[in-house]
């Protein structure tokens, strides 16, 4: 980054507040996600991380504040329109389409970028056939190979183990060719090996595809390893942000986790990750 030249961040969250009835889920949240970075949002359970993601995706409408995507405000856009701009995400509790195969789930990721209309589709002629063939080739070559899920492409997602379902959900988000990829706890509930695979995929997505990544994660080892920037939420407020190493030393962060009651373990995870 050149000194003095302002580079527009991929995503800017500015003064966002959100409440559910009397409960304040987010209070004046401000931070930005640099283009091409991996930015992680951490914080205890109930801190408002998923709510923040939902506000960015367009499911929740903030009471105050603004969200900018590559410099342009997207506050008035509905969820599907934000998706079409290049905002993709996965869900904390996996939201795949259970009645479909892995392949069809992934193909759905490209939905918004295709043009086939109803009449084309009924006759499966011309554009419909062309687009579907191009889609199949792209999904096979760029995504299925990349994420190493060749063996399950025709499987029904309902039959897959948890770790693979998370990977299929990532595949579907990647099929959107996103500019910004939001991952809500991508390795929660995974074993060591699956976690390492996922961390490698996330790094590859950033490096090979140049995709900006915004991630919520509890696995401090992974957060500290792969993040460029870390934002800490507690009770809906940003209590610290900066480089992983800075955040780790921040006393407010340690206090936030003290408040969560899981002191020893979290202190160990916070400091152990640097080693």
């Amino acid at each position: 980054m050149t000194e003095g030249v302002a580079v527009t961040p991929a995503l800017e969250i500015e003064g966002v507040s959100l409440s559910f009835g009397g409960l304040r889920a987010l209070t004046d949240v401000t931070f930005s996600v640099a283009e091409g970075s991996i930015t992680s949002v951490i914080g205890p359970n109930g801190a408002g991380k998923t709510s923040l993601f939902n506000a960015i995706s367009g499911f929740y409408k903030p009471d105050k504040g603004s969200i900018r995507f590559h410099g342009a405000a997207i506050d008035r856009l509905h969820a599907p329109e934000r998706a079409r701009l290049g905002l993709a995400r996965t869900f904390q509790n996996i939201a795949l389409f259970r009645g479909m195969t892995v392949l069809d789930n992934i193909k759905l990721g490209r939905h918004a970028h295709m043009r086939t209309g109803l009449i084309d589709a009924l006759f499966y002629f011309g554009r419909a056939r062309r687009e579907e063939m191009a889609l199949r080739a792209e999904v096979e070559q760029r995504i299925i190979d990349f994420l190493e899920i060749d063996h399950i492409r025709k499987a029904s997602v309902a039959a897959l183990p948890y770790g693979l379902r998370k990977r299929v959900e990532l595949a579907r988000a990647l099929a959107m060719r996103p500019k910004i990829l939001m991952l809500d706890e991508p390795v929660a509930g995974m074993n060591r090996e699956e976690t390492e695979d996922m961390a490698r995929f996330i790094l590859d997505v950033k490096e090979e595809w140049g995709t900006t990544i915004l991630m919520v994660e509890h696995d401090m080892g992974m957060v500290m390893d792969i993040s460029d920037h870390v934002v800490v939420l507690n009770f809906g407020q940003v209590i610290a942000q900066g480089l992983p190493a800075e955040v780790q030393r921040d006393s407010a962060v340690i206090d936030a986790y003290l408040g969560s009651g899981d002191v020893g373990d979290l202190r160990r995870r916070l400091t152990g990750a640097a080693a």
Partner: protein, 347 residues
């Protein structure tokens, strides 16, 4: 299974009929459909036409209910729109039947879009009730818009004409009804190989994540309603040409229940389901009629019992399939095929 990068391989893998065996089966089926009218008597031809009309309408309902997850009890009313459109166009303007059928589909589709508008907010039972309300409103229109529909007396219409030949027998109508139905079923099969069909299923399975993928819910729900009612409208148009009398009582609510039953019994969310289900459910009353014929020497008012018994049997079939075979006849068919595929090596 490993698929190479060659384009041909993907094309083969994405084809409607993936294997030579499947293609052969389909060719055989088409040949049987062509041969059937030359071998069947008038009664079986009549039944075949009725089955085909019901397959077309049930396939439409399956797009909406089976694939998009929106329950509708308005399918018969949309057929009514199609039937009246055809009757009015035929009687007043004598326009060609293909044009009339397309107009029937389009007008019914417009009706479907109107009825579908609440579907963004209301779901499940409430949407079903909204569609029932719509069928009552349509019934009221059919019965009272006398200048167009001729009120409760209804409309009697001339047969469709093809190159000067009047399609006035089941044999002749068969050549109109069955090809149109085959086209409509293939259209549905194609649809679910493309983005549009996938979007419908996505909305059925999990509408929140559909939105995250850039699928506008209302637009696709309305599209599903429109397509489903287009199928109903064309089926209703065929129905009108087949029976040639259209009255407000021709498309009662129980007929909508019949179509819902057909897709449940056949298997929702499959292409085969509505075909098997509509055929099965059309045959049930015929079998009951036979039974009544046998009983009549002993039970004097057996004929009077026919209608209530039919309703009870439909109800029992719906409940029975929902409880014991929720995937319907299509699933039973799959199991039978698997059995013969492995037989005699494994059972």
């Amino acid at each position: 299974m490993r698929i190479g990068a060659a384009r041909q391989t993907y094309a083969a893998d994405e084809a409607l009929f993936e294997t030579t065996v499947q293609r052969a089966w389909f060719a055989g089926l088409l040949a049987a459909l062509v041969a059937f009218p030359f071998m069947a008597d008038a009664y079986w031809l009549y039944l075949a036409c009725l089955v085909a009309i019901n397959v077309a309408s049930a396939t439409g309902l399956n797009i909406l209910t089976g694939y998009t997850g929106l329950v509708s009890l308005g399918q018969a009313a949309f057929m009514g729109i199609g039937a009246y459109t055809v009757a009015v166009l035929e009687i007043r303007f004598g326009t060609p039947f293909l044009l009339n059928l397309v107009a029937a589909g389009l007008l019914a589709a417009a009706g479907g879009i109107l009825v579908g508008i609440p579907s963004l907010r209301v779901k499940g039972l409430y949407l079903a009730i909204a569609t029932i309300a719509a069928s009552f409103i349509l019934h009221f229109v059919f019965a009272n818009w006398t200048s167009v529909t001729n009120g409760v007396t209804g409309l009697s219409m001339p047969p469709a004409r093809l190159f000067g030949v009047a399609l006035d027998t089941s044999f002749r109508m068969y050549w109109l009804i069955v090809p149109v139905t085959v086209l409509m079923v293939m259209g549905a099969a194609n649809l679910f190989r493309t983005r549009i069909g996938r979007a419908f299923i996505a909305i059925r399975d999990r509408d929140i994540s559909a939105e995250v993928l850039g699928i506008p819910l209302l637009r696709y729900k309305l599209m599903s309603f429109a397509l489903s009612s287009f199928y109903a409208g064309v089926a209703g148009g065929l129905w009108a040409y087949f029976f040639r009398v259209v009255t407000p009582e021709s498309f009662p609510l129980v007929m909508s229940i019949f179509y819902l039953a057909a897709i449940i019994v056949g298997g929702m969310g499959t292409i085969l389901g509505p075909i098997l289900g509509a055929a099965f459910m059309t045959m049930v009353p015929e079998v009951l009629k036979l039974g009544v014929g046998w009983l009549s020497p002993w039970v004097p008012d057996a004929v009077a019992l026919l209608s209530p018994v039919r309703t009870i049997v439909f109800g029992a079939l719906i409940v029975g399939f929902l409880v014991f075979e929720p995937q319907g006849l299509a699933e039973i068919w799959r199991r039978v095929r698997r059995f013969f595929h492995l037989w005699p090596f494994k059972t």
